[in-house]
């Protein structure tokens, strides 16, 4: 429908809502003084990103995002916050760096990115207005993972194994002095 002369679809409304929530939560992540609340903001922001994935025709990725990021990583971060309890009192205004300076730098960076995005002439092959309509389901992701990308896939599994062992070793409490 047209509002103020602009053509607006329901999906655009949905996008604005989701993206607004995401960005708002992201701002919360960096500005909320209490680190536990910041972590919760991260959870909201990750849900928002999952919503954006869903809008981009990637339902599998959206669900994976929720499962791994929200279900696992955020939980892990919150647990880590608990285990290092005292840090929660440290707030934003004890920031190491002059926040205004940092904001200026990040803002200029954002401006550049915005200019680049707005002025990009997309190469042929990119549909600009709307995602292409091929349904990319779970099966195609699986095929892609196990055929052309099998090598990085295996590599990722090795990395995960190494991380599993490494994290246990690092976080393990040193029991006495093993000579």
């Amino acid at each position: 429908m047209h509002i103020f002369g602009l053509f607006i679809t329901g999906y655009q409304v949905a996008f604005v809502a989701v993206a607004g929530l995401t960005v708002l939560a992201a701002v919360g992540v960096v500005l909320v003084p209490n680190i536990l609340r910041a972590a919760l903001c991260l959870g909201v922001m990750l849900m928002g990103v999952a919503g954006l994935y869903a809008l981009m025709n990637a339902p599998f990725l959206a669900v994976v995002q929720v499962m791994i990021y929200v279900g696992a990583i955020t939980t892990m971060i919150i647990l880590a916050v608990f285990l290092s309890n005292r840090v929660m009192k440290i707030g934003f205004f004890q920031a190491v760096y002059n926040p205004l300076l940092a904001a200026a730098a990040a803002g200029v960076m954002f401006l550049f990115l915005l200019v680049t995005v707005a002025n990009s002439v997309w190469v042929q092959g990119i549909v600009e207005k709307t995602p292409a309509t091929k349904d990319v389901g779970v099966q195609s992701v699986a095929t892609a993972l196990l055929q052309p990308y099998v090598f990085p896939f295996e590599l990722a599994s090795v990395v995960l194994l190494a991380v599993l062992i490494g994290a246990v070793v690092i976080a393990k409490e040193d029991t006495a002095d093993e000579s």
Partner: protein, 109 residues
């Protein structure tokens, strides 16, 4: 229903959101004092990159699964990074009773 979900949304919108998240993450990296806070900011930036990957993947005329696959790898590595990072944070906290990234100066404890 899902195939026309994003009807009318240009790719630049997604890219702009990505850019926003990225810059917010950068800002967080600069102002956050605790190591966990910095980790949160890194997650922000990783997600920003993921949004771009998926956007380009699904806005191709011949949609490519590569964008999603790469996003999955990024998520995997983010999980790995978070696990190791948090393990280190906990270890540091146990030894020094703080996790201020700017005060950590000893590599060996």
């Amino acid at each position: 229903m899902s195939h026309s979900l994003a009807y009318g949304i240009p790719i630049s919108w997604f890219l702009t959101v990505g850019a926003m998240l990225f810059c917010i993450g950068l800002f967080g990296m600069m102002v956050r004092r605790s190591a966990i806070g910095m980790l949160l900011s890194i997650e922000l930036m990783l997600n920003a990159a993921n949004i771009n990957l998926v956007a380009f993947g699904s806005y191709l005329k011949l949609p490519s699964i590569a964008g999603q696959v790469f996003a999955i790898f990024v998520i995997t590595l983010a999980a790995a990074e978070a696990a190791v990072g948090l393990a280190i944070v906990i270890n540091i906290y146990r030894n020094e009773q703080h996790i201020d990234a700017d005060k950590i100066s000893v590599m060996k404890m």
